[in-house]
Each structure stands twice: as C-alpha cells, then as structure tokens.
C-alpha cells in the first residue's frame, strides 16, 4: 500500500537517548509504574500535517507542548509531497534529520511520527497501521470498514446491507473474518465469512444451524469458532486449511467446551498455545483459557473487575485487555496469567495495537448506535478520541 513506500531515511542516532530509550524499551509497565507523558514540541509544521503529527505522537505517549517546556523538539516543514524533520532534545543534542517524500501528506506525517517514537522510546510506532471496524450505514444495516489507525481514509469492505459483527484480522493481515447475517438459500443466518483483502474473494467459512461467530485465527492457521450446532453455544477450533463445505457435519472440528453457558470473544495467545474467551461459571462472568489442543478450562483471575467480557490478548503475550461492565462499560487490563486488574477509562470493545501499549476501543456517546472509537495509551493512560462517523461504529480490530 502506498503508505508503506520506502522513504529516504537518514541515519538515526540513538546514543544520546540511550537512557530514555532503555527505560521505555524495558517493556510495558501497566501496573505500578504509570508512565509519564513525554513533552514534545512541534515547530514549523502547517495544516493537516501538524495535526496528524500531534495526534500520532499523543496516541503513542507524548504531550505536545511549547518549545520551552519540551524534552524533545521536532522541527521541520511540509510541502505537498515532502516532509522534513529534525529531532533534538532540549539540550540541543541531535536525534535525526529526515527528508520523507513519495506519498500523501498524512502518510508522510505518520512515517515521521513513527521515526520520532522510535528515536525517543526505542519502540516501533503504530502510526502506519490499519484498523477494521463495523459501522452502521443505514437503518438495520452495518458494514465492515477498514481505515488508517486514526479512523481516516475509511473504505467499506462489505456492501451486504445486513448485520455484521466481530471483524478480526488474520495473523498476516492478508484478510479478515467477520460474522454476517447474510441470506443464502432463502435463509438469513449468522455466517462466519473469510475475506481475502488482496483479491476481494469471500468464502462461507462457517454456516451451521444456529449461531456461527468467532473467526479468530491462530498463528498456525487454526480458527476459533463459537457455534451452537449441537444446541449449546460452545467453542470449537477448525484445523488449518479446514473447509466448511468439506466438513458439513463438523466432524473435523475440535470442540473445546461442552456447557450451556454463553461463550464469546475468543482471542488467542500470541504463541497460539491458549485460547482465551469469556463465559459464565456459576452464573458469574469470567475470562477463561483452554489449551489449543483441548483440555481443562482454566479461569483467569480478574481481581477487582466486575462482569469482565471481551478479552483481547496483547501481542507480547503479557496482558489481557477486557471490558468491565459496572454501570456503563470500562476498559481494564489484567496480567495474562490473571491477577489484579487495572481499570483505565470508559469504553468497550478493546483491541491491542502491535506495540502492546495502545488499545483501541469504542465509547458510547448517547446510545448504542452512537459509539465512537478512541485509543488508550496504557502506560500514560492518555486517551485520544477518533473522528466521529455518521453511523455508530463498533468492534475495532487493530492490524
């Protein structure tokens, strides 16, 4: 895609930031050590590029301040197809000197944001990434959209004029799964759809009688499904390269659970060894995990959380984000092995970014059909609200 075109990257000197970088590169410190916002000044930038740089950097843990208050200064200028940036610290030490070109201004700005974050923190930026989400496009109609991580450049991926939920990326981001209520053979039913983003080709991945949802693909190609084909809503795993039409009775599916209670929101550990999901145990909402090959269901303690649902396992494997329902909805994070939770902000539908520090989520603003997306920076607890869409949005998934 065009925002991934190579750009001229002059040598970036990290040595003068070694102390800062080592602190931030030590890993996500969700519990105990609340990260501090990094004061950064932006000078010389105009218009949309200035806004994009500010938004990106604030998403990734910075605070835009006047030059006199900044620890780092990013100075440069932007033209129609060109962007320069010189990064220095408040002592005047040199960080980098970049000249970026060959793409649209927003793309150039995202590239400079990523370079800045890399230089300051040692972590890879996420400003070039994409998200999936659902959007209400008409009365009783929802579609799947893809956009830049900040909600810009949205493109509709479906035009089914039906209900759609739970878009999820394939691990290599070449496609996605989602749950659609499309009509086939005169019958509307939930259907897990596999959608190839390179070709546009779509397949019925699962359409048994009853509920078909899930569609969470593990690194090895197995796909977790939630089905009610056997008259209770249970978690199943389809082996790699499994095809619904060749297994219409589901005999090759691995059934991981056997209980009447609801199950929802399957999410794999990054190594694919565990599948985490939400269910009820003794009537109590609980996050659980099951070995990928089947076995005992293990509760994930979420001390301090009320009605935890919607688990999302962080890409580094250390954390599980979830939705708490106490009055409204709140975003919480718990160590992957379980423990004390930390509740961060109002919101639901959490999904981690690749950097394992940002979480995209939705927040209701005047009703279920008025949800907006927002991004939490976990270490600093800073929340940035994404632009609103005409229709309510839901269930973002981060590339």
């Amino acid at each position: 895609m065009n925002h991934r075109k190579p750009f001229a990257l002059f040598p970036i000197l990290f040595s003068m930031f070694a102390m800062v970088a080592s602190t931030w590169a030590a890993g996500l410190q969700v519990q105990g050590n609340v990260g501090k916002l990094i004061p950064v000044a932006l000078t010389g930038y105009q218009g949309e590029v200035a806004k994009v740089l500010a938004f990106d950097l604030e998403v990734m843990g910075c605070k835009i301040v006047p030059k006199g208050d900044a620890s780092f200064v990013l100075n440069g200028k932007n033209g129609p197809n060109n962007l320069t940036g010189v990064l220095s610290d408040n002592a005047g030490n040199f960080g980098f000197n970049l000249n970026i070109n060959g793409a649209a201004p927003r793309v150039l700005a995202h590239a400079l944001s990523n370079a800045t974050i890399k230089a300051i923190t040692g972590q890879n930026g996420i400003a070039h990434t994409r998200i999936l989400f659902t959007m209400k496009t008409a009365a009783r109609e929802w579609e799947v959209f893809q956009s830049d991580f900040d909600g810009h450049n949205p493109v509709a991926l479906t035009n089914d004029k039906s209900i759609v939920e739970s878009p999820m990326w394939m691990p290599n981001h070449s496609g996605l799964f989602y749950t659609s209520w499309m009509t086939i053979g005169g019958l509307q039913n939930t259907t897990v759809v596999k959608h190839n983003l390179k070709t546009g080709k779509r397949e019925v991945f699962s359409r048994y009688k009853g509920l078909n949802t899930g569609g969470a693909m593990a690194p090895n190609g197995s796909v977790a499904l939630i089905l009610s084909k056997n008259r209770s809503t249970d978690v199943y795993v389809a082996p790699p390269k499994w095809e619904f039409l060749k297994d219409i009775k589901g005999e090759k599916l691995l059934r991981l659970t056997r209980s009447r209670e609801e199950k929802s929101s399957p999410t794999w550990s990054p190594d694919g060894q565990w599948l985490c999901f939400h269910t009820l145990i003794g009537g109590k909402h609980t996050l659980v995990k099951v070995p990928a090959g089947g076995g005992q269901m293990v509760s994930i303690p979420t001390r301090g959380a009320f009605r935890p649902t919607q688990p999302s396992w962080s890409p580094d494997g250390k954390w599980i984000a979830f939705t708490q329902q106490r009055g409204g909805f709140q975003i919480g994070v718990v160590p992957a092995a379980g423990g004390n939770v930390k509740i961060y902000c109002e919101g639901e539908d959490p999904a981690w970014a690749a950097n394992s520090r940002n979480i995209i989520f939705t927040r209701r603003a005047g009703g279920v059909n008025k949800k907006r997306m927002a991004i939490l920076d976990v270490p600093t607890e800073q929340v940035k609200i994404l632009p609103a869409f005409r229709g309510g949005v839901g269930q973002p998934a981060w590339q």
Binding site: V155, A156, G200, R202, I248, H278, Q395
Partner: protein
Amino acid sequence: MQGATYLKTLAVVAALAAFGCKSATTDVTNIPGKTLATNGGNGNGNTGGNGGNGNTDLGPGGTGGGTGGPEITPGPGPGFGPLGLPGEHEIVRDAFQKIHFAYDSAELRPEDLPNITKVAEYLIQNPNHLLEVEGHCDERGTEDYNLSLGERRAQAIAQALSELGVTVNRLATKSMGEKMPVVQGSDKESFAANRRGEFVLYVPLAAPANGANGATPQRINLTPGAATP
C-alpha cells in the same frame, strides 16, 4: 424428496459460487457508489469510490464452486439445511406472541409457557411449516456477549418447543444480539421490550399446478390452533 433438496441446494451453491467469486486486484474491495466521510477530527476520510462488485454477492466456496465443487450433504428431512431452505417459502413474522426475558437471563418465564405451547400446537398441526426462533437482547451488554445471550434465549425457546413435540429439524435459531431493538430507548421499559424471542414462520409455497412456473402462495390461517387446508 431428499434428492430434490440436494439438487436445489447444490444449484443455489453453484449459482452463488459462480456469481460471487469474482476477484478484484486492489488491496481493498471498494463498494460502488458508497461515499462516507468522517465528521470532526482533522481530516476528510472517505471511502473508495469505485471498483468491482465481486464481493457483494458471496460465493460460498473459494473451493472450486459449480457442480464440480465439493460434495454437499443436505440437511436431514424437510427441515432447515446448513445452506438454506428446502424449497420456496413465504416468511411470516409476528404470527405468534413474543417471549420476553429478565435482564441477562435466558430462562423462560412461567407466564410465557402458554404462548410457547400455542406455537408448538400450531407446528404439530402444520407439519410442513418450519419455524425460526430469533433471540434478541437489550443494549446493556457488549455486542459479543449479547450475540451469545441472544442465541441462548432462542435455544431455550426451541428446546421448549422440542419438549412439546416439535421435531428438532423443523426448528432453527438465530441470535440478533442487540442489533434489532423493537423499541428505541434507554429506559427500563424499552430494555424489557427488547429482551425477547420472536418467531419467524416459513410456510411452504404450493407446488406449481400443471407444470406452471409460478407458485401461488397457499392461504394460511395463522390463528394459533387452526390447521391449514
């Protein structure tokens, strides 16, 4: 009958596969004619404006499709198959009273059992009719959870119908989650109205007479307890 059902299902699959599996060459599949814009924020995102429509009609395969595609096993008997209905049906909604549920519950309430019994009696008296049970939720839950809760509500009703003598393969369940509220509102009364099960009746159309292509819908008396002619 099963052979005909098989052929019909196969034909539907083949048609869908042939129509829906066109490939586009772009990174993303644009939707013709759609234009959406962001409000607020600092930009002006929009959707792609043109592109093929190959994705708008789903091919069920990517597996070869057509008559040379994978073998499909039809659903047992005259009931719901995994890929659709056996034959043409008229869809009738609201023929029966809705069933309501307590907050965050899929337990049937005693006062609803007479209504479920009427549905069961109707189905027993009309053995060619199929019934889909929809489960709905209020908005006080995450979308993911409500999808599962709605299914459990539908399953609870279907289970009761089964216990009253309705053959299981004539019943289908479908969760609508929180997406189709019957009342818009965020008050207790609206929530209560939206936590519900609904019945969707599939009434088979009469077979064409004298080889005519068009089928004339049967006259159906939907008064619970009344049998169709």
